[in-house]
Amino acid sequence: MSVGMTPEQEPLIRLESISKLYGSGDAQVAALRSFSLRVAHGELLAVMGPSGSGKSTLMNILGCLDTPTSGRYWFAGEDVSRLSETQLAHVRNRRIGFVFQQFQLLPKLSAWRNVELPLLYRNESDRRSLAIHALETVGLGNRIEHRPTQLSGGQQQRVAIARALVTDPDLILADEPTGNLDTAASQEVLSILRELNQQGRTIIVITHDPEVAPIAWRTVHVRDGELVQLKAA
């Protein structure tokens, strides 16, 4: 299908009939069934669904944290569905920024040390200034030496967003970014995500927070491992 397509026409993400099976024999469970999805460059997509719907599996496959049992995944025109673990690590490092529900900051490191982490895995030399710049982008330029424990939940999630941003990735993948935050902090985080999207970043938010939908261009629903409806925002 990619034949004859120009890079402009090729979406950033193209999932073709992705299936993911867990277990074997009678105990085999399909977390995703023949799942297809396209995400254009610059889009902000919300993926919603109840627990156990397969949205975590979808997030793992989108984030190159796991490989599908069958089907194809093209990321920016490159087939990443059959890459080795080390090659996937390079894709994650260079092209994807993650934001997690639990923030996943290392408690012993200061804010900027946390933000520089992905840069360590690509031998970037200018790490400190890049990290500080990313922290300034999320409005934490005055908190660079703070430890995670000295920051509020919202601030911690902003540090995590800065960490996702610091490598200038093609995609920011946020898994329940507001799941551990109160309403005010959620709004803070969502407005940052919207701003980043307005600056041209492609963002996928996996959530069951209905507050996310209004900022998304498009919301897709996952149920029992299948895409159930497409609704234009």
């Binding site: 390079h90 994650r92 993650f98 982490l117 360590l120 690509r122 031998n123």
Partner: protein, 404 residues
Amino acid sequence: MSILHTIETGLRSLFGHRLRSVLTTLGILFGVAAVIATVGIGQASSDSVTARITSLGTNLLTVSPGSTVSGGVSGGGASANSLTMRDVAGLADRQNAPDIAAVAPVSQGRVSLVSTSSNWSTTLSGSTPDWLIANARSMGSGTFITSADVSTSAQVIVLAATTASNLGAGVGDLITVKQIPFQVIGVLASTGSQGFGNQDDLAVVPLTTAQDELIGGVGSVQRILLSATSSANLGTAYAEANQILLQTHGITNPSQADFSITSQTQVLSTAQAVTQTLTILLASVAAISLLVGGIGVMNIMLVSVTERTSEIGLRKALGATPGDLFRQFVIEAGALTAVGGLLGVATGLAAGYIVPRTANIAVTITPAPVAIAVAVAVVVGLVFGVYPALRAARLAPIEALRAQ
């Protein structure tokens, strides 16, 4: 990730768990120190045994009564009184034994020497002037016993250096042995030997005097010391002595001999084998403690991997390759053992300095066991670090991220 950052990350995590790192390091420290100290003690005792035996002279042959094995039944060494002055005379015959330079019959016993100022218990040998040559000794002062002293059973005594100084006696002084007065006519030059079988703690009187008045056993001798004209002639001297003794004892079948002749070389190799076995035994125990230390490193690394599962997952999500994580954990294990190994060397060397000064046990530290102990420690650390590191590298990022 560059190796420098990997090292930095590894060290940062070790410093983050200071107490745990120190305790793990201690296991390796004591293992390495124990190896160095025990091998050092073994080496020292081996050296001292070797020195003691070679100081007796490599030309020396000792004739003892009683065959070590007679007709398949061992009578026990020196169990018979089969050596006589007739044997001594035969061995001293330069015609039949041209390669034997000195023949010294010896009768030995433990006695108490009493001087005007103190008393001292030591080994007393009754012998002849050849004792000095056979044992390759020299006089520090005075003279050794003479043939005339032997034929007249003179009440004269020669003391070794330590014995003389412990008694506070010198040439010309009178000391008593079993209430009999003896005049000190000479003091032997010191050999510098120490401990068990000290060659500087003994006394020598004429053989006849010893047999008549102190030890008894007139007519037979306990041992005969022979010295070959040179160490190259030791073999022929041995053959000559064997031939003469078989003849004087009227024995036709050499396997029935009622005496045995041993050279210092034989004694030396036996003694070395014994001390080597002891050294290996001690070092094995120490090596086991090093192994246990290594298992401690593995244990703590496994704990560390389990405890940091979510950190590992995060690092994987951020782009750490399995290789990056493997290297990070191997470096952590390697650093723990390397530091433990170096501190162990310091402790081992300190023990090598302190033990001889406090416990009177000699320790000889040579570079080889030190190098081997450190190398083994590092290898142990890396080997035992590999499994936890593989566990870290193989963790699936999603599973790891979910662990909280």
